[in-house]
Symmetry: D2
Subunit: 380 residues, 4 copies
């Protein structure tokens, strides 16, 4: 079995999720490649040592440039705040490394274009961790759509609702809170949450032509963890947008961190001529499916418990009725990435795919300022 030696940069929430995926994938998937946890990298030497010990990384680095320079690293995994993605990814590409980058790809589309250029010039496998594509219920939705079961699509609706920043006492910036600092995150819920909705939407329903958005920052000032001062909040707390897809369907997208009662409620619904689909991250193992072709008197939304052996990815796990969870979407993504490396047919979303999401997010944020419909720029 071939080895794929991984150097992971960053040890936060995503560093754990990815490490878990690398460690588990070989137990459940029969692959040509085996993941080797070669090195973990972060600035704090003690913390990165502890992280490496917990997860079984064989070595540590405190400077990502050194990690990239190492000959014994095949792939670099970027799990640091958004403002560092571009520099690291471009350097890694130049060093000939495969790259797995956390989402969103970049701070904006301009930066993203440079990253795409870099990986494509280097010819290295590259992928962005939009993990929800590989929740089995979402993958099943993709299959159903690709089979043409829904017919012409009329409506797409997605929301990602959270409620963790309602308190005005929450500071911005620093470990665990960089998502509230516009300098580190680039944007607020648009890049953090809505980007997930957009990625899935582009995958399931094709390109978006134009958008018309509003954003709001409910809490205008927060203490900054790093400076200790009360500073202006630069991120969007909430974002809602109208959109029109290239296939003629109408869409609404919304994300917020001020929806009391919702921890991570990513929902999506698609209404087609013949059938409709609904999914909800809070019960991620279920897909709701309505098929108008069912006989009238017994027609209804079907609650599909996506845990059978013929459901996407599920033959690798347990037995019907026993659900998997959030972390498994990452394991599936690693499995697909490794198969992509083996077959030469890259697993999506590549940097180029993720750039399209970035273009949509840019148009949304622009529209929220111009207060007008904005066309989504082409990736190229």
């Amino acid at each position: 079995m071939k080895k794929l030696r991984i150097g992971l940069i960053g040890y936060g929430f995503m560093g754990r999720a990815h490490s878990n995926a690398y460690r588990k994938v070989g137990n459940f998937f029969d692959l040509d490649y085996e993941c080797v946890l070669q090195a973990a990298c972060a600035r704090d030497p003690e913390k990165v040592q502890a992280f490496a010990r917990t997860w079984g990384y064989q070595s540590v680095e405190t400077d990502w440039r050194k990690l990239i320079a190492r000959d014994d690293i095949d792939a670099v995994d970027i799990c640091v705040p958004n403002n560092l993605h571009a520099e690291i990814a471009i350097a890694a590409a130049r060093a000939g490394k495969m790259i797995l980058c956390e989402k969103p790809l970049s701070m904006n589309a301009a930066e993203g274009r440079r990253m795409v250029a870099a990986v494509e010039k280097a010819g290295v496998p590259n992928m962005v961790w939009y993990n929800y594509r590989r929740v089995p219920a979402v993958t099943l939705a993709k299959h159903l759509i690709d089979e043409g079961r829904l017919g012409k699509i009329f409506h797409y609706r997605a929301k990602f609702l959270q409620d963790w920043t309602i308190s005005a006492d929450l500071p911005q910036g620093g470990t665990g809170l960089w998502r509230l600092d516009v300098k580190a995150a680039g944007s607020g819920v648009t890049g953090d949450l809505l980007a997930h909705c957009i990625d899935t939407a582009l995958w399931l329903n094709g390109g978006i032509e134009k958008v018309n958005a509003m954003t709001e920052t409910f809490i205008k000032q927060r203490k900054h963890t790093l400076t200790g001062k009360v500073e202006k909040v630069g991120i969007d707390d909430a974002c809602a947008t109208l959109a029109r897809f290239k296939n003629g369907s109408l869409a609404t997208f919304e994300s917020t961190r001020y929806a009391r009662g919702h921890k991570a409620l990513y929902t999506l619904e698609i209404n087609g001529e013949h059938a409709s689909i609904f999914w909800d991250l809070h019960d991620l193992h279920r897909l709701q499916y309505f098929d108008h072709r069912d006989q009238g008197i017994v027609r209804g939304w079907r609650s599909i418990h996506v845990s059978d052996g013929d459901h996407p990815y599920m033959k690798h796990w347990w037995v019907p009725g026993l659900q998997i969870g959030y972390e498994h979407s990452f394991i599936h993504q690693v499995a697909d990435f490794l198969q992509g490396v083996a077959s030469g047919k890259p697993a999506s979303p590549t940097f180029r795919d993720a750039l399209e999401t970035q273009c949509v997010c840019d148009a949304i944020l622009k529209s929220a300022k111009t207060l007008k419909w904005e066309k989504v720029a082409a990736v190229k």
Copy 2:
């Protein structure tokens, strides 16, 4: 249009539900008969006057014998406590009146047999108000079963759970509380709640061969409203039973007034070889249906919103998606009763049908005492 002149005895909860049904049925169903609210009867002259005024009854009586003796009454509706059903019904039958009797039919099967004999000898139309058969979702279940969609039945499961008698301070006996007084009610939850489950079960799944039950009275003594004294509680607060149907299926039935959180949770589930059905009174306008013949990857429980024009009874009401409620089951029952009178094909459940439920209840209460399996006696 022919008139059916009704004399109603009792003005409690059921008196209202039936009066509402008589008043509304003609607005929604095209029938040969029109209901005329001829007389209301109860012992308290002031209260029965007020009731008659509210509902538009043209006259009142304070003695049910006088009501029965009147020439201008075609049908007698019995809405009084269970211990009075037999005497009134037998007298009404002898007087040649049609009879609509509240459930349960009687205090026990012996009494019920006399009632059946009386109405059959008199040859008068007769019906018992087991109204849940005519909730559209339940009627739809009956249609699906009769079409053979479920195949061989393996399991039947029904419960009727309430929580309104948990307080030890609640008295027994008197208006609104006669259901806690064994002398008026005959039994507790078995005749009040489980009898509904049994009636539906016999209708949907055929005869029950034998039962094995336990009952419990959690609160042993309660003040009696009529005597003012603390008296032994004679009713069953809870009842659970195993049963075997004649078709070979296994069943569990349960009813209680001590299930905190459930107001009137009547649920039933049937598991067949090919398909299963689930229904819940708390959301009575929905039927859950699972069909194993659906394609595997999109197989799931279908939540059918039973509000389309091709669903049972629903073409008479509003438009798809707009739900009807509890009271409509009574209106449907009146419509079917009137059609039965017109056609000569009696609407079910007749006294004879309801006697079968009584025989099952008797066997259940007996088993709870003998602690053994008991055969259900034949109706005849």
Copy 3:
């Protein structure tokens, strides 16, 4: 008891719903006024005769001007297509009649202003049938908001989704289909469905400052029932809008008749600082409520079965756990209207209240054309 003699114009779906309400209200509510079904009016003499017979109207008219001229009519109920509301209402006001008008108030705000002026000049009680305010779960939501339980409101979200016009074979115009004919309806889903969402939103969350909308007509041409020719479809099949409330909250509204799987899915959600609320017309007897002040480990969305005696309107009906349906919202509205007449404190929504909804709808339709944010005009 005083009598309120009603003259109803139109005998379609709404004519039935209102007639049912007038007939039933007195059986369940103790009121100073009694509704008398004095006259039904429609152009077709045979059909209006049949309708009057079914519902017990004492007389018929075939010309609404004659109905209005009658001395024995106290209140006029307008149940005809939208393009006739203004003329009839203004004439009825001049004749000194109370007016109950179907929603939407008018074809547009300009027309609505004339109607408001007419009723206010005449000093007659007036109301518009936005019935969903009086679904007990929605009324309960209003109470909870008014008590301040939700705190500052961040988000409002409402949708009204149907799927009955997806077929291109459906004609426009004529009985039952005038809602597809822009000349009769004024607009498509905006006035028919979204107007309900807007009415409730204004009631629950206060005024809307500005909107930004898109509309779409998926089927561009349909045969017209009255002309027999294929004609351009002038209505909006779908409408989605962003909005900002005066209280600073952000909103999304959407309505469509192309959402496969949804018959009449009116849902609304409100997210406040402390608590959130969700309601769904398909299960109208339930309110979902999340209160962040609940202890953390047992915090969750509460599914409230709004059927207890202390829930709005419910003491008038059955017992806890037994649900009422769609039609009851109209009965509650009649009860409140009659109490308003008795007390002199008008029941909402009055014509003036409904005009505010009209102003929002106008702004939405304008925005869909200008492709810009549009301010909602003041009622005055």
Copy 4:
């Protein structure tokens, strides 16, 4: 960190679930002990080699006696069919090994008593894999009950419903199908499914006094995989039982493999004086909780998404709203076992705890034969 060297016997479904737990526990829990996958053991040398490779076991054995005899094994994990549990466990105990044994403990209580005697005599840590106790929602239920929130318990209700053996073509016996062979399994659904319900019930609600059960074998004969002949089916396909707990509460338990539409529907409900609880394995990350002490108008079943940091076990995983799955219950059990070894306070259920479940199952199977209430034998 101390090492706990594991020898696993059997490589089926449970062998995978346990191996996964041993491999992951250290990544998520901070423990004194580290699991070492020392040896895997099974009769087929090739298959056990492949299994060891997949999961990282350092060595293999094909004779469990040799495994037990090895000095470098601290704990033996028994994942073989039920008929082999006793012999292996008793030998392992004599060899001084810690033992983790799959459920049910044994073929019957008599065998179980010998196993308890063996481990207690040897003084070795021992545990049985009733994993559902450690689904966080179930553990939360235990906490709520132990805090006294439910008050006096009136009712306990549990079911474990599956539908995978409905086809008469399914053979019995052999790999994957030994659960249908009474010689290997001891019983059918009683030991396989109902035992889970009983274990949780004893934990949550205390001892069971007596039971009254029925069982059924719907398919009387099946081809035997090992003999190739059609043989009588000795297992129970379905089992339903009434029970009385020592605390006075009434219970119903049911398990079947003939409930079309249910893959692994383990549900439990407890109704107490003040509060009730409901849980469902198909959505294992949710606990339904009803508290009567909530204010009346906002009282309802709370759907608790058990994914917050203050919910049992959850601080070790991701962030609120992101669900874990089935396999995590095993990881939690390993964590607790290791903490038990470290602290000397054994994690439950021990062999002795599991023997109590065995005594209940024995009484159930006996009652199904005697057709009478049977007392549950004491463990001692």
